[in-house]
């Protein structure tokens, strides 16, 4: 029976991801084009916020991804620690810069949105602050990967950092709520709540989120392939020097 762990074999992983990648990329493109143009041109303007509400189609998906990329890295790190599949460690490494960029997009679009609506680019609001801290975690994680030469040591150390960092990121999340009450609204996309964003905004937003997910998957698969190939090249070079 085919199991998920088959893809721990780099060769199999590259072959399969090569086949999947064009579809994923296409889906990402279609979803983003449809979602963004639907959102930008075919939704009404919010009666209080005017047209500045449209930045929601970038802000919410990127914020959603910023957190979920970290969770994906956490899962990949756990798989690496438990089962020691190199592809998993490389996938975690490949995801980190994407997650960091998502965090920056969320912060930047949030600032641009906040300027006309709240009248300020930045406030020390719990949500904003915890995203900033999350960004710092991404930076530290990437810096640690870059600093260590030996691949396996780097994978091990960053995996432990990811685990410990997750706990502390969660702690910080609740600490900043205690520390300051903010301007940012609470969750308004939950499936189980009465009061959500109105449907006209909700559906294009869902398409945009799907587009961001597909975009992320495409980028991670591509970057993981690159990492695998780079490592293979280093191994070949090392063999050549020896032989």
């Amino acid at each position: 029976m085919a199991s998920l762990w088959e893809y721990a074999n780099p060769k199999k992983f590259i072959a399969t991801s090569d086949r999947v990648l064009p579809y994923l990329g296409g889906l990402a493109l279609v979803c983003l084009v449809v979602g963004l143009s639907w959102g930008f041109w075919f939704t009404p303007e919010d009666f209080r916020q005017g047209h500045s509400v449209k930045i929601i189609y970038l802000h919410v998906p990127s914020a959603f991804m910023a957190i979920n990329v970290w969770i994906m890295m956490l899962v990949a790190s756990l798989i690496w620690i438990v089962r020691r599949h190199h592809v998993s460690a490389l996938a975690a490494r490949a995801a980190a810069p994407v997650g960091a960029v998502m965090t920056v997009i969320a912060l930047a679009t949030g600032a641009i949105w906040g300027q006309p609506i709240w009248g300020t680019w930045w406030v020390w609001d719990p949500r904003l602050t915890s995203f900033l801290i999350l960004f710092l975690f991404y930076l530290g994680y990437m810096a640690l990967w870059a600093a260590i030469e030996d691949d396996d040591t780097a994978a091990d150390l960053t995996a432990v950092l990811c685990l410990v960092g997750s706990v502390f990121a969660l702690l910080s999340r609740y600490a900043v709520i205690f520390w300051n009450q903010g301007l940012h609204q609470g969750a308004s996309l939950s499936l189980d709540k009465e009061e959500n964003v109105a449907d006209v905004f909700y559906f294009p937003l869902l398409v945009c989120i799907a587009g961001f997910v597909f975009l992320f998957l495409t980028l991670v698969l591509l970057r993981t392939q690159t990492e695998i190939r780079a490592r293979r090249m280093r191994a070949l070079q090392a063999r050549e020097r020896l032989g």
């Binding site: 640690l144 600093a147 260590i148 432990v160 950092l161 502390f168 702690l171 910080s172 600490a175 205690f178």
Partner: protein, 218 residues
């Protein structure tokens, strides 16, 4: 284990550089603040608690890379790792030694510097209590960071990038308690959270530190 603790303490006291340096750094950071924000007494007294917490945190950070670096360089870390003490115990002792040589002097120096920053009188006790409760967490978290970066040459900058985000919760609750104390408010809630973080890190982080140390010694 006690022998290891006394060895570390003796090294910190006699080898120079480590023990007094953190304290001197704390002093200098705090002295720089009035130059930067101006000497107005009311302004200083409102920011004193936060400044003292930041100063203590930075002074703590500065001395972290010494926890393992010297032992790593002369090879005694390998010997310690092969000794009968479990590695978890070793890192706990290292963290304790770091706290005794850095955290505790900082707590002792803080009231003096608080006078210079014009901290309101009712704020002294909360400041000392919050530092006393919070600095052990700083040492334990810092030991984890030091264990992570022990094999890296010139890891100091990387160490601060890794450790400072981990310090966020401790700083928030510690400084919150000190600030509330200075304003004459109730401080039990942030203190309870702070104590919780300290106990949690002391209980759990040594395992993570020992794990990364094992990886680094491999």
């Amino acid at each position: 284990m006690i022998a290891l603790l006394t060895r570390d303490l003796r090294l910190a006291l006699r080898a120079g550089g480590g023990f007094g340096l953190g304290l001197a750094f704390f002093l200098i950071v705090v002295v720089m603040v009035p130059f930067a924000v101006g000497p107005r007494a009311d302004l200083l007294s409102s920011i004193a608690a936060g400044v003292l917490w930041i100063g203590a945190l930075l002074a703590c950070l500065l001395s972290l890379d010494r926890i393992f670096a010297l032992d790593w360089e002369d090879g005694s870390l390998d010997l310690l790792a092969t000794s009968p003490i479990p590695l978890e115990g070793l890192v706990s002792i290292k963290a304790l030694a770091h706290w005794l040589t850095t955290g505790l002097p900082l707590v002792a120096a803080a009231p003096v510097l608080a006078v210079m920053l014009n901290l309101p009188p009712q704020g002294f006790m909360p400041l000392i209590i919050s530092l006393l409760l919070g600095t052990p967490a700083l040492s334990v978290i810092g030991t984890f960071g030091a264990a992570l970066t022990v094999g890296i040459k010139r890891g100091g900058l990387l160490l601060s990038l890794l450790v400072l985000p981990l310090y966020v919760p401790t700083l928030i609750f510690g400084a919150e308690a000190a600030r509330r104390g200075a304003d004459g408010l109730d401080i039990t809630t942030p203190l309870a959270f702070l104590a919780g973080i300290t106990c949690g890190t002391i209980a759990l982080l040594p395992f993570a530190s020992a794990a990364v140390l094992r990886i680094n010694l491999r």
